[in-house]
Amino acid sequence: MTVSRRLAKPFLRALGVLLGAETVTFAAYHLLPGDPAEVSLGVPNPSAELVATTRHEMGLDRPLAVQYVVFLGRLLRGDLGTSYQLHEPVTRVLREQVWATVTLAVAALAIAFAVSVPLAVATAGRRPAMRGLSSGGELLLTSSPSFWIGILLLSLFSFRLGWFPVISGTSVRGLVLPAVTLAVSIIGVLTQVLRDGLERALDEPFTVSARARGTGETMVRLRHGLRHALIPLLTVSGWILGALLGGTVVVETVFSRQGLGRIAATAITSRDLPTVTGVVLVSALVFCVLNLVIDVLYRVVDPRLRTATA
């Protein structure tokens, strides 16, 4: 009873999140000006007759409530429909594009951690000058828009030096600049959160106890401090995922990379509802899964939570 309830709760919550996200997509689509039927025809200045037939075929002439129910019914059956713009089933489009984006996001996350962790460990609680320099840099990075950083990197390393391809494609070399651009957008926040957590932990009596046992400063930071710093990091992981997903839209466009971000960008401008619905569904799913994983990770990191709810 309690076990099934414990499993049911996050599941229901995830379902609610998915439903909410899709409803917002549907509402935005129908509230924004412009006619989806014209978009889906893809010809300039179509005749009014043709538009009317298409509207009927697409069910756009039915009452909004009916359209909404039909929309949800299709979603429930896993039928995402056909992209108006690519004229391909949305599920296939998503399947083809998702890995490029996952690769990009994971690479960016890895780069961000590789930079943030040593930076935070090295600067936490250190002399004000060093710490100030680092946090100034982080502020600069956080406030610079990704497209700007992307263009900077592109013009320096691709156009000027020719180290990396201008069009990223799917090669590993092509992954470097986009991943770095995406990483830069989260390094600032990541480092700050880690450093704050570390500084708080380094003030605690248990780190003084560890020093009193003869543990060196670096080991105190790595062994005792870093793990405590992970807790606030988990708390902001939702923000990080959001920044990564949002970032892929910009980065994939700037670097002409394949991926969900670019598909989403074009689908939104061309009012391609089925594709937008699909991308929203995937993003919302990722958020839900992340939330479940975070719940588990909290418990892995912090034993106090294990017994509290067990």
């Binding site: 009596p205 248990f206 003084v208 106890s209 009193a212 046992r213 003869g214 005792h224 793990r227 017994t307």
Partner: protein, 640 residues
């Protein structure tokens, strides 16, 4: 150690260090912290020596610089601390000029340090064994594969029951006493010749405290030099060979424990000794009346002058130096002279013991057959309170004692009707109180008020003192302001504190504010739940005096819950001894404490630290046994 004619001699330590060089030799230690435009000077010239197998206790009220002193021995006073000393030698090696590498070897290798705040000194995210293994690995005590076994041995030696199980557990799964033992095990992992323990027994209940002290005594007799820090002279009396009394960063008196405790030479030492509550000073004030502006203004004169009853003009102008006052003794006072403390002259406001409230009046509070169960961790019901009955009369103080977990706070909550009993009733003023709906109870609520252990947790941090107390006053406007001022005056707080916020108050001041608020609706009964447990001895003495005065002047009855027998013995007319939810013994305080009938009460009393030096019979009375390794071993179970 030179002998002295006074006081009982303690048995000689089995392994006294060579009479030549002490292990630790500190001369004129000064520590400063940079502060806004000035410097904080918590330690202003401390001299210490410590030999092998010896126990030196540093005693003083909180804020006197004890922790900073011992932490600076290991370079751990804080990242911004400036530590200077004429000499700071560890076995002839200068601690101040040590390389970082050598200092790491010394930490844990030569000096084991157990910090104050045992509850937060273990990393909450790591199992206990990881902390002890860390010490073993840092100092390469045993080969890597022998570490887990050694961890269990160390926990066992520190008196942790079921060491294999405990090693795998996390700090939050252990009681305060076990955490303290685990910390000692970690500090002793590399077998350092010196163990420094900062307030190791504060916040532990009396039996746990006794076991811990017995275990420390065991370390000492095995040859470890012990530097013990406490705010309570009674705690160290049984174990210390020498005592150093610290006040505002200076050692004001130092000497062999027996001599110092029986014939204190410095006025502050006398004050500390008088502040220890016990049956002997029942009905007598523990703390001297402090002058209103007792804020210490250390000028050129004696640091103790603002609080000294013997102060003269000379004290205000010239700072006294440490002068010898007997064999191995010194004191910083112009008029230092070893003398037996005279019983304080009973001032007018204290009544002789016979004049205590008579039992003839009708009880104001009657509890009968109170029972309350809570679901235990495995789902089964656990009786927290089991068939508890008592009466409370006006102006009477009923003390409730027992170890932590014995059900004292649950009784308090049942009396306050914050919890509904499973069975049994409480009558207030002869009317039903526990078994009635809250709206009917509300008008009666003002008759019974709570003084909590941790007032900071129950005050809104943004409110001023005026507002915190004012909220509980029924009057409005000008009248309210006058009442608040009168209440503050009643609890001995200056009117200048009205605009302060809780964070700007000391522990004692906060507790006075809590009492003032509880008194505002003119209650007939005060329920005091461990109201002095978080305070150090001198502040505790003032608060206990306050409670005694309230009972005399206002006739307020009190249910006084405490794990500290000395406190209960000092204050109560009647006592109730609780164990595992049941009242094992109840009756007149003198009667119960002088002729305890129940073996559990006898054990509690035996575990109570007393101001009689040289009584290390804790190992016999307190349930601790010596094993062949010389360590005192104890069981973690409640006493039989």
């Amino acid at each position: 150690m030179p002998d002295s004619a006074t006081g009982p001699r303690r048995p000689p330590a089995p392994a006294p260090g060579p009479p030549g060089r002490p292990l630790l030799d500190v001369r004129d230690l000064r520590v400063t912290f940079p502060a806004h435009r000035s410097r904080v000077r918590p330690v202003r010239g401390v001299d210490l020596t410590l030999a092998a197998g010896e126990c030196l206790a540093i005693v003083g009220e909180s804020g006197s610089g004890k922790s900073v002193t011992v932490r600076s021995l290991l370079g751990l006073a804080g990242p911004r601390a400036r530590v200077e000393a004429e000499r700071m030698d560890l076995d002839g090696e200068d601690l101040l000029s040590m390389s970082a590498r050598r200092l790491r070897q010394v930490r844990g290798g030569s000096i084991g340090l157990v910090l104050q705040d045992a509850l937060v000194s273990l990393d909450p995210l790591r199992p206990v064994r990881a902390e002890i293994a860390e010490a073993l690995r840092n100092h390469r005590v045993v080969a890597g594969r022998d570490v887990p076994g050694r961890v269990v041995d160390l926990l066992d030696q520190a008196g942790v029951p079921e060491p294999e199980v405990r090693a795998r557990q996390y700090p939050h799964e252990l009681s305060g006493g076990l955490r303290q033992r685990a910390l000692i095990a970690a500090a002793m992992a590399a077998e350092p010749p010196i163990l420094v323990a900062d307030e190791p027994t504060t916040a532990l209940d009396v039996t746990t405290q006794a076991r811990l002290l017995a275990s420390l005594a065991g370390r000492k007799s095995a040859g470890t030099a012990l530097l013990l820090v406490s705010h309570d002279l009674a705690v160290v009396a049984g174990i210390a060979d020498r005592v150093a009394v610290m006040y505002q960063g200076l050692i004001v008196e130092q000497g062999p424990a027996a001599d110092l405790l029986s014939t204190p030479a410095h006025p502050y030492t006398r004050l500390l000794l008088a502040a220890v509550p016990s049956a002997a000073n029942r009905g007598l004030p523990l703390a001297p009346p402090t002058t209103a502006a007792a804020t210490p203004q250390p000028t050129g004169g004696c640091v103790f002058a603002p609080r000294c009853p013997q102060v003269t003009d000379r004290c205000l102008e010239q700072r006294p130096t440490a002068v010898p006052v007997g064999p191995g003794r010194s004191a910083r006072c112009w008029y230092a002279e070893p003398a037996r403390p005279t019983a304080p002259a009973a001032p007018a406001r204290s009544l002789p013991v016979q004049a205590r409230p008579v039992q003839a009046t009708a009880p104001i509070l009657t509890a009968s057959g109170l029972t309350k169960s809570f679901p235990g961790p495995d789902g089964s019901a656990r009786r927290a309170v089991d068939d508890v009955s008592f009466e409370l009369r006006p102006a009477e103080i009923l003390g409730v004692v027992g170890e932590s977990g014995s059900g004292k706070t649950t009784v308090a909550n049942l009396i306050l009707a914050l919890l509904a009993p499973d069975s049994g009733t409480v009558l207030l003023d002869g009317e039903a109180w526990s078994r009635r709906p809250e709206p009917q109870r509300r008008p009666l609520r003002r008759r019974i008020q709570l003084v909590p252990q941790d007032p900071l947790g129950s005050f809104d941090p943004r409110y001023t003192v005026a507002r915190i107390v004012g909220e509980a006053v029924p009057e409005r406007g000008d009248q309210r302001r006058r009442r608040v001022a009168a209440l503050l005056d009643r609890v001995g707080l200056a009117a200048g504190l009205l605009d302060r916020r809780p964070a700007q108050l000391s522990g004692g001041e906060r507790q006075r504010v809590a009492v003032a608020r509880a008194l505002a609706p003119e209650p007939a009964v005060l329920v005091c739940d461990e109201p002095v447990s978080a305070l150090d001895v001198s502040v505790q003495a003032q608060i206990l005096d306050l409670f005694d005065g309230l009972r005399r002047d206002l006739g307020t009855a009190m249910l006084f819950v405490s794990h500290d027998l000395g406190v209960v013995q000092h204050l109560s007319d009647r006592v109730m001894v609780m164990r595992a939810g049941r009242v094992v013994e109840a009756g007149d305080a003198d009667e119960v404490f002088e002729h305890p009938g129940h073996p559990y009460t006898q054990d509690l009393l035996a575990a109570l630290p007393r101001l009689r030096p040289g009584r290390v019979d804790l190992a016999k009375d307190g349930g601790a046994r010596r094993d062949t390794t010389g360590y005192a071993r104890t069981t973690g179970e409640p006493l039989p």
